[in-house]
């Protein structure tokens, strides 16, 4: 009895080949075909190099497409379209149009590093996700995503003061993304906490923080970091062939 792997053979995958000879043997007939061979003409030759030039993307060329990253991925388990292995494939082949179909979910990588842990080739797929999201934004394919708004607001606060005050971060993020702070779950949480806390501490910890932590004597470090940020921004834009002047961004 022949074994029919029915689940693998789907009618839509069957392609009929007439007069198909391989090494002189006639193998004409119906073939189950997952991937149609095709010639790509519109590939973007610089895409891999550009993404490799951004922080995190450096090792993308090492990928051998084993799929361990996708298999381990936290976000892939929630959304099968989130597929680091596939995106690396597209980037390496310069298949920009296909990559752009997924442009609005790349930023959702939660940086859990399960992929980096699993990768046998030290590609650092987590870094590649960040570099790709960054590339999409710099190239103007996506608007600034909420995570980047959050990261930048957060980083700005650290650069300014040396420290983070989480209540302030939350307030600023909601303001910048145009959301109301009075989300029902946040309010429920704040009330639950307030019931059990002495008032003074509620004020210190809560959303109406009155004290702003900062590192003393931070001004020189602040200036040094700011210079470096500008330098890197210009270098990243240059690597992507974008204008680097003040009005270029």
């Amino acid at each position: 009895m022949p074994i029919h792997e029915k689940s693998l053979i789907r009618p839509e995958n069957l392609i009929e080949h007439k007069d198909l000879f391989i090494d002189g043997i006639d193998v004409s007939g119906h073939w189950s075909t997952f991937i149609n061979s095709r010639a790509l003409t519109d590939y973007d030759e610089s895409m891999q190099e550009e993404i490799a030039a951004l922080p995190g993307g450096e090792n993308i060329h090492r990928c051998w497409q084993c799929g361990s990253c996708t298999n381990a991925c936290t976000v892939n388990a929630l959304n099968p379209d989130f597929n680091p292995r596939y995106w690396i494939y597209l980037i390496r082949n310069g298949m920009k149009q296909e990559l752009l179909l997924d442009k609005d979910i790349v930023w959702q990588c939660v940086s859990c590093n399960k992929c980096t842990y699993a990768c046998p080739r030290d590609v650092n797929p987590e870094g590649v996700m960040k570099a790709t999201a960054h590339w999409l934004e710099l190239k103007g394919h996506t608007e600034k995503k909420p995570s980047m708004i959050f990261d930048e607001g957060f980083s700005q606060q650290i650069i300014e003061t040396g420290k983070i005050e989480d209540g302030l971060v939350i307030r600023q993020f909601f303001a910048r993304t145009g959301q109301k702070l009075a989300q029902n779950w946040l309010v429920a949480m704040a009330i639950g906490l307030a019931k059990r806390l002495p008032v003074a501490m509620g004020i210190k910890m809560g959303f109406a923080a009155v004290f702003h932590p900062r590192t003393r004597g931070w001004s020189r470090a602040r200036a040094a970091i700011k210079d470096y940020v500008h330098e890197r921004e210009a270098a990243n834009r240059k690597a992507l062939g974008l204008p680097t002047g003040e009005d270029g961004r």
Partner: protein, 308 residues
């Protein structure tokens, strides 16, 4: 007996001054009860958290390294960071400075401009609060001090992402018996077991809570957290023990959000491992900051005879 971690530099980090204050309070109280001394780093700065690296990773390296310089200047060769994010970033700075010449030169340049000495790798060891107790006191030392055994308390130990990944920044892990495992960490399990707790087999020890996007992609975080909570309940846990302020507040926030937004209620409680160990040593719930947690664990603790 003097142990190698009797007196360590302490790097609380920003979260422990804010939403994670209960962890700060309980870590210090636990140290006092065990005779372990912590000296807070003078005028420390944020390690870069999870966000700065997405602007540029080398700024994170500089920010973390500045704290290591401070530890060294204060005469310490060990700095203890209870927050997974801080611990991870300090470890990563150590690794990058030792292995990546470019990170080293950027750090030197930034430190020079900021007017302080640049940190040289190899001078200060970064440890987690778990290492501090596990290797500074050990299970036997802990057992000898337990006054209020956690007997009957079923615990799911949750370690999160940053304590074990990526593994190359933790060269001391995966070294065989006595060392921590990055695949299936057990230091927290070991300590809580020594304090009498009954650890449940929890398959999601190192799964992600979505902490990086806790606000910017709340639905993803809520789904991830809900999975952690429901699995802990399915494993029979009364409480999830945490070792990171970001995970901890993420679990608490999204437990609330899952109930309010998705209509999914879970009742497993969430406590820092330092709070549980403190209670076992006979410290009061207030002393270990149970009132500072967002979700109320008191009814469960009372029911288990761990609080009055």
């Amino acid at each position: 007996m003097t142990g190698k971690y009797d007196k360590v530099a302490y790097y609380p980090g920003c979260a422990l001054e804010g939403t994670g204050h209960a962890y700060n309070r309980s870590t210090k109280a636990l140290g006092d009860a065990l005779g372990l001394q912590t000296v807070e780093l003078e005028n420390w700065n944020c390690c870069g958290a999870m966000e700065v690296k997405n602007v540029d990773p080398k700024i994170q390296t500089y920010l973390s390294a500045r704290n290591l310089t401070i530890a060294e200047d204060m005469g310490f060769d060990t700095v203890m960071a209870p927050c997974n994010g801080c611990y991870h970033n300090l470890k990563k700075a150590e690794y990058d400075l030792a292995h990546d010449p470019e990170s080293k030169s950027v750090n030197e340049r930034l430190a020079g401009k900021a007017g302080h000495r640049a940190y040289e790798p190899g001078h200060v060891e970064t440890i987690h609060a778990l290492d501090w107790i596990k290797q500074g006191i050990g299970e036997e030392g802990l057992k000898a001090k337990v006054k209020n055994s956690l007997k009957g308390l079923k615990v799911a130990n949750y370690y999160g992402c940053m304590y074990t990944r990526p593994r190359h920044i933790f060269p001391e892990k995966d070294r065989g018996p006595g060392s921590e495992s990055t695949l299936k960490p057990h230091f927290m399990d070991d300590l809580l077991e020594a304090a009498g707790a009954e650890n449940v087999e929890y398959p999601l020890k190192t799964s992600c809570c979505g902490g990086a996007h806790t606000l910017s992609d709340s639905d993803t975080s809520t789904r991830l957290v809900l999975n952690l909570l429901e699995t802990a309940e399915a494993c029979g846990a009364d409480v999830i023990a945490t070792e990171c302020p970001t995970c901890h507040s993420g679990l608490e926030m999204h437990q609330m959000r899952a109930e309010k937004v998705f209509g999914k209620k879970t009742s497993v409680r969430i406590l820092y491992f330092t709070q549980l160990l403190g209670l076992a040593l006979g410290l009061s719930p207030r002393k270990v900051g149970v009132h500072e947690n967002f979700s109320d664990a008191m009814p469960m603790l009372k029911q288990k005879g761990l609080a009055r």
